[in-house]
């Protein structure tokens, strides 16, 4: 398991992306998928900074990465106000306007995305990406056990 905590500054989001990309590559995801996973993690972090913390640069957010034989789990933790999941909706792609695409990218590139309802303080968003059977087979070996 990897856990990394950063300040809620936009310039630091690239650190989380780099971790996500690296872990994805190590888990056996092909390069394009590793890029998509990194993008989803970056979008989740950007949402926390922009929406939950409303641009406050002095808060914290954490990323945990857990590797299983068939999947990677990413947990984004923040300590901001509770997010109301029912208010998060991807916008219609029929309207041409800036913004609102982050949720679309997260939902498109990850297999599951869910807030932890039992999180007492702040929010914990779990994002899961499953390895395809082919990628999982290629990655079997001593280092591929669940951590």
């Amino acid at each position: 398991m990897i856990r990394i905590v950063i300040g809620s500054e936009p310039r630091l989001v690239c650190v989380l992306r780099t971790v996500a990309r690296h872990c994805s590559q190590q888990a056996g995801f092909p390069q394009p998928e590793a890029e998509h996973i990194a993008l989803a993690i970056g979008e989740a972090a950007a949402n926390i900074i922009g929406h939950t913390y409303r641009g406050d640069l002095h808060a914290l957010l954490a990323l945990e990465v857990r590797r299983f034989p068939d999947r990677l789990e990413f947990v984004m933790q923040d300590w901001g106000p509770k997010v109301r999941e029912d208010q998060i909706r991807p916008r219609s792609l029929d309207e041409l306007r800036p913004g609102g695409l982050g949720t679309l990218f997260i939902n498109s590139f990850m297999d599951a995305c869910r807030y932890d309802p039992d999180c007492r303080e702040g929010n914990r968003l779990k994002l899961v990406k499953f390895l395809s059977r082919k990628d999982a087979c290629c990655n079997e070996g001593p280092g591929s056990a669940s951590r």
Binding site: E9, P10, R11, V13, C14, R17, P32, E35, H36, A38, L39, G42, E43, A46, I49, G50, L93, L96, R97, P98, G99, G100, L101, G102, L104, F105, S108
Partner: protein, 119 residues
Amino acid sequence: MKVQVRHLDNIAVIDCTGDVDLYSSPRLREALLAEIKTDGPSVLVDMANVSYIDSSGIATLVEGLLLSRKTKTSFGLYGLRSNARSVLELARLHQVFVIFGTEAEALEGIGSVAPFEGV
């Protein structure tokens, strides 16, 4: 990310290098808003060296596109890498932007791109 602007005849080329994300996209936005203006040059964004673009970068390009329509400026992108192309396609924006393959194609073709009238 680095943003540099070149002026070639009546075309402004905005060269972007690196990651276009929440942190860096305001620099691209500043360059776009400075170049896209009524009676200004055609504007091209060189994305050949953009290694990563997220929703804030895409939002910046959409803002540029909308401004280009308002100011009747010809506006296009070129040199998109596969990751940038895939997010544009996912958002169905590849049908909205004028996208060229290479700089040569973009410089030759942007003159014939009619600015969209009305937003």
